[in-house]
């Protein structure tokens, strides 16, 4: 069994698009049973409508798609309210994209939204690695706002084609509630070091499709050097635990 820890559903303001049937077909092609689905940044920035659309798609997927709620924390009260509404409707976590919504993840104005997720008992997933918005050390600070709640960083917590952000990402992982996803992380040795240093419970497979390619992102995990039990956690167990997906 494999759970993809993040895909993006819908037609994005920024040009990418992945619709439900295509997502399910792509998942079938790479042997993914379940995917955790966040809305894209919707055209018109109506996050409530986008969350409802993803929730509806997930509800009709026979359990193969699990919804996250995406909010824009610039209007904190509205974001907290929308998160509460979405979680009551079945959302299994909060998704934040600091780069696309243009906020700094460790800005104090974001804190109530992260704390609201913890109070609702759902994890926080953050699009990680974006310069100025979600750098690994900024993410580590934000993770400390709700230390008992899982704080999941996409893209290995970083984006740097020279590997120069790996140290910072490891500092972020110094927070016990931080996990990193495998999406886009080109350094196999970093992924293996996360498991060796922090434990296999801290690394989660995710494709981040359609930003990245499902088949290639799955290959990152298949070709890395993990033990069978470690691989089971990375590909399946960790996402099930964090997002409450039944086995």
């Amino acid at each position: 069994m494999t759970v993809d820890g993040l895909i993006h559903l819908g037609a994005s303001h920024f040009g990418s698009a992945l619709e439900v049937q295509a997502a399910l077909a792509d998942m079938d092609a790479v042997g993914t049973s379940v995917a955790v689905a966040a809305p894209v940044h919707p055209r018109g920035a109506d996050f409530t409508a986008a969350n409802k659309a993803v929730a509806q798609a997930c509800a009709g997927s026979g359990g193969r798609l699990v919804p996250l709620a995406r909010v824009d924390p610039w209007d904190v009260a509205a974001a907290v309210a929308e998160l509460g509404r979405a979680v009551a409707g079945g959302a299994r976590g909060l998704f934040l994209h600091p780069a696309e919504e243009h906020f700094r993840i460790n800005d104090d104005r974001v804190r109530p939204v992260v704390e609201a997720a913890a109070e609702l008992g759902v994890p926080v997933v953050v699009a990680a690695g974006f310069h100025l918005y979600s750098e690994p050390l900024q993410l580590g600070r934000a993770a400390q706002w709700a230390p008992g709640n899982p704080f999941v960083l996409t893209n290995g917590g970083q984006f740097n084609i020279s590997g120069m952000a790996q140290f910072d990402a490891e500092l972020a992982l110094g927070n016990d509630n931080v996990l990193v996803q495998t999406s886009g992380m080109y350094r196999e040795d970093f992924l293996e070091r996360v498991v060796a240093t922090f434990g296999p419970e801290r690394l989660m497979f995710a494709s981040a499709a359609p930003v990245f390619t499902m088949a290639y992102e799955r290959a990152r995990v298949d070709l890395a050097h993990f033990g069978d039990e470690e691989r089971d956690l990375i590909l399946d167990g960790n996402a099930r635990r964090v997002f409450g997906v039944p086995a």
């Binding site: 984006f159 740097n160 084609i161 020279s162 350094r187 196999e188 990245f212 290639y216 290959a219 070709l223």
Partner: protein, 246 residues
């Protein structure tokens, strides 16, 4: 022949970086890669004074499999030109490596242009680190390509995470630019590059051995280029550019 255009060997006590020729060979064997361009992670003259000897000894130990690129700092221009000349004419090195983030030398600066032009005069290409950091973006390196039309300029990582489209644009503008596929995470962009530039303008690289040549080669397979184009990208183009025999 499968040829990896971007691999590293280093032995720097100062930085704690250790990767040997044998590490490269093991990673290449695992990926079915027959030959590779190898270079240090440090720049000469600099932190590893034995950088040239390290690469030369590796290539001598595996003469059919490892081909040296010399990584130099253009800030020390005359010494860099002397070292490159010696490396190419006496030791059989096949290329120049430039990492502007490491050397803090802008690709459009006079020193870099003179060094890259010198590489062209010696008949060897220059592989640039080309990613998202200042000093290394495709438009920065385009300045070099424009000033050195007789030098082959290879954009390593073909623009990284966020500058891939610009890298393809730059290669479209300058016929002396070649794209190298390592680390950047989009298989479909390899296919787009081949479609827009032709298969002769894209080369496979892994940035190994710390990046996985197996995974990086798989990326080219997923790109579904077709047999002829894949053959050029995975090895044929390197054979032509570096003058190495299949």
């Amino acid at each position: 022949m499968i040829f990896d255009m971007h691999m590293h060997i280093e032995d720097s006590a100062v930085l704690g970086w250790q990767m040997s020729a044998e590490d490269c060979i093991r990673a290449m064997d695992a990926a079915g890669v027959q030959a590779a361009a190898v270079m240090t992670l440090t720049d000469l003259p600099g932190l590893n004074p034995r950088g040239l000897e390290l690469i030369a000894e590796a290539c001598a130990a595996f003469p059919d499999r490892l081909h040296g690129f010399l990584r130099l700092n253009p800030a020390l221009l005359e010494e860099s030109k002397r070292l490159l000349t010696m490396a190419v004419t006496e030791l059989g090195f096949r290329g120049l490596k430039q990492h502007p983030v490491s050397t803090l030398q802008h690709p459009g600066g006079a020193a870099t242009i003179e060094l890259v032009r010198h590489a062209g005069e010696l008949g060897v290409p220059t592989l640039f680190h080309c990613g998202d950091e200042p000093l290394s973006t495709p438009l920065s390196i385009a300045e070099t390509a424009a000033a050195c039309p007789d030098s082959v300029v290879i954009l390593g990582h073909m623009g990284g995470y966020f500058h891939v489209d610009e890298a393809i644009d730059v290669a479209e503008q300058f016929p002396n630019v070649v794209l190298e596929t390592s680390a950047m995470p989009y298989p479909e962009k390899i296919r787009e590059a081949v479609q827009r530039l032709g298969p002769e303008r894209v080369v496979f690289g892994s940035d190994g051995p710390v990046s996985s040549p197996v995974l990086e080669r798989h990326k080219v397979v997923i790109a579904s280029l077709g047999e002829e184009a894949a053959g050029l990208v995975l090895g044929g183009n390197a054979e032509r550019l570096l003058g190495v025999a299949a």
